[in-house]
Symmetry: C2
Subunit: 423 residues, 2 copies
């Protein structure tokens, strides 16, 4: 299948070509074949799409999420974290079946598609159910180990790591565990051995809350970042999800170990966990991505909201309107997140890269007049502007229509399952 997009503005996010290109983009099966000025091609195409002056850009990458948690959207808001977890989330999670996980993951994917997100880094359980949802939808998923004292084990993690890195070009799997405060040191040591054995990065919730950090210091005399580096967990890099309370010393360790930090602004503010020191992280030249976290805490799965919120929170906290530029946010939500997820072929628009592309409708009032397209995307852009989402060369969402999902069936199942869960 060969597709030509013509009459397009193209924001490549390629560091080698910063200008917005006016021209064409060709997709051949799953790969971008050409991007540049219009040219008369000897090539023939199966489909030609007139972009009508709208924008093509790389899809957003959601670098931290718990996709199946859409079941808990708006279930329990405006309450304290411990009450929320203990009375609402944990009891329901314990009842989730693989069928539940598959349907609620599909619901998350649908929301991603409406927001121009073409891949997610998902930390949850029941990987077979998530992979089923992913392959049926045509959505790119990077799975992340979530083991802890209560669920799964280092042995299962290794089994998953071997199995799910070979199952499909839409799926990959990263070593990971839930968090220091849910995982004994014996398990963490075994994960570190896996990191060494496979020369692989390790991903984990790190310094999400102040309590997590202070309890870790009480227990080990070290911050979570210090503990993880001392244990060798970050010897081949990896990721720190949230990083709300990383100290400057932590940031130096993070940088030295080539660890990515994934910012989750909406979840952190709504749960009142805090505001990550993104400005400081940028000063330390850390590798940054953006995630939505789960719908249970966020409650939306919307990269426009995350970019916007991350920028304006820093301006407010730093009392500096120049803090966190739009350029930086857009980079984090696309290239930065892709790199955090190991998706080096999906990070930007260039010949040879995977065709994970979105089309942005510039002919909406919130994008007019056109002073600066990047600033429009970050400061006034919205999921309403997403006209098309293409993943791996296939258009899966266009003008409000889902091509691979029966939306009414998913809504019906999601509500029916919820009534059963709530009993």
């Amino acid at each position: 299948m060969k597709i030509k997009f013509s009459n397009a503005k193209i924001l490549t996010m390629n560091p080698d070509s910063k200008e917005i290109i006016e021209g064409e983009l060709w997709v051949n099966d799953s790969i971008i074949e050409y991007v540049g000025k219009s040219k008369i091609a000897g090539d023939s195409f199966d489909q030609e799409i007139d972009v009508e002056g709208n924008l093509l850009m790389p899809g957003f990458k959601n670098a931290h999420s718990h996709c199946p948690m859409t079941f808990a959207r708006s279930l329990a808001d405006d309450m304290s974290l411990s009450e929320w977890l203990n009375t609402k989330i944990f009891p329901l999670e314990a009842k989730l079946t693989p069928e539940n996980v598959c349907v609620y993951t599909k619901l998350a994917y649908m929301e991603y598609l409406t927001s121009g997100i073409t891949a997610a880094f998902d930390m949850y359980y029941e990987p077979d159910a998530i992979i089923k949802a992913s392959l049926e939808t045509g959505f790119r998923t990077v799975l992340c180990g979530a083991i802890n004292n209560f669920k799964e084990s280092p042995e299962i993690l290794e089994e998953y790591y071997q199995k799910y890195n070979k199952c499909s070009d839409m799926i990959s799997y990263k070593l990971g565990f839930h968090a220091e405060y849910t995982t004994d040191i014996g398990i963490m040591e075994k994960v570190a051995q896996l990191a060494e054995k496979y020369q692989a990065p390790v991903y984990v919730h790190n310094s999400e809350t102040q309590e997590e950090v202070s309890t870790c210091i009480q227990k080990y005399g070290k911050t979570p970042t210090e503990l993880f580096t001392d244990l060798g967990l970050y010897q081949y890099g990896g990721g720190a999800f949230h990083g709300t309370y990383l100290s400057e010393q932590d940031m130096e360790l993070i940088k030295d170990h080539k660890v990515h930090v994934v910012i989750n602004s909406a979840s952190n503010t709504k749960l009142a966990s805090g505001i990550a020191p993104v400005t400081k992280m940028i000063e330390h030249d850390l590798m940054l991505g953006i995630g939505t976290d789960g719908a249970s805490s966020n409650n939306a799965l919307d990269m426009f909201r995350e970019m916007y919120l991350t920028a304006v929170l820093q301006k407010a906290v730093q009392k500096d309107p120049a803090a966190c530029s739009a350029d930086k946010m857009l980079y984090m939500a696309t290239v930065g997140s892709a790199k955090a997820m190991g998706l080096y072929d999906c990070d930007c628009i260039a010949a040879g890269k995977k065709a994970d592309i979105i089309m942005i409708d510039l002919r909406q009032p919130n994008m007019q007049p056109i002073n600066n397209i990047v600033n429009n995307l970050v400061y006034s852009g919205s999921k309403q502007n997403v006209k098309m989402t293409m993943i791996n060369g296939k258009i899966v969402y266009e003008d409000g229509k889902f091509y691979t999902i029966d939306k009414d069936k998913v809504y019906e199942q999601a509500n029916k399952m919820l009534r059963t869960l709530l009993g």
Copy 2:
């Protein structure tokens, strides 16, 4: 013209009927005639609309804006307030023609319609151009005096007050001036005389920035709120736009004088002005509304973003996930803002009220599953969910189409005028 909406969920925002009604809503010309359970009517209708289980609710009211400032969207972001104002905004504003004002106001109205906003409280100049845009669009506008040392005068304010309160049922006009820091005390005294003469409320920017408050205290030995009340400006109530730095003593004065406070969270965070103490204001039982401010500073005109941001900023600042509930935010963005604008007939859905109504698409992934519709609206809702916007009984926006505006013409004019302005 008589319209029946059937098969609807109806969130009335009427304090007398808090439950979501499943049933019908009838509109007769500009007025809501019936809201309640389905009934077999002897009545005949010109149009019957099957809402298909989606939600009808009152339109949002934007209680503080500068509509024509869409020209400056994304023109100058990520820079300091003084640099932004002096090098970018003021020089361009000085060049704006009435034709510019009309086109850029229409662009703002289009964005309001996509976000379910059915009325705006607009503080700007060139009222005839704004009213032209309003009447051509069918958009409800409350104009607010904006006089100061540099523009217009108390005499012009009185002339406008008399003239524009009689010109159309879609237009009303409130006494107002720009701010303490741009307006000499002689002018303020004359505005207070007008307040007394017409027994009318007065609206003004109040305590938007810390510098504004401290400079006022240096000059007058009083906060802006103390000054305004001492001058008699608030003797018949009125409004404080922003209120970012209101003290608790100010809040008591505000309450005693029945003054509304209009919160502008996005503008205040993006310009790093600060975060309004909304939680304290709620504790003081103040009358609160929400505004977007202008697109120049916001940069979007999106009430979903404002509600969301206002709530989560309080949760973050108060370190309390229970701060600022979704219920309260939705009330502020609808009834609270309507009352601040004097739109007592447009505040909620009830027989006899103006038919300013929006339809929310619940069959989008961000609104599913349906645990709690109000929480969905505030925490995961988006302008993408706005299926229809009706103002004064007329459908002006539906499924992405503008019925009263030629959108391509507005975009073309807005960009062409911008090139002229930028020279």
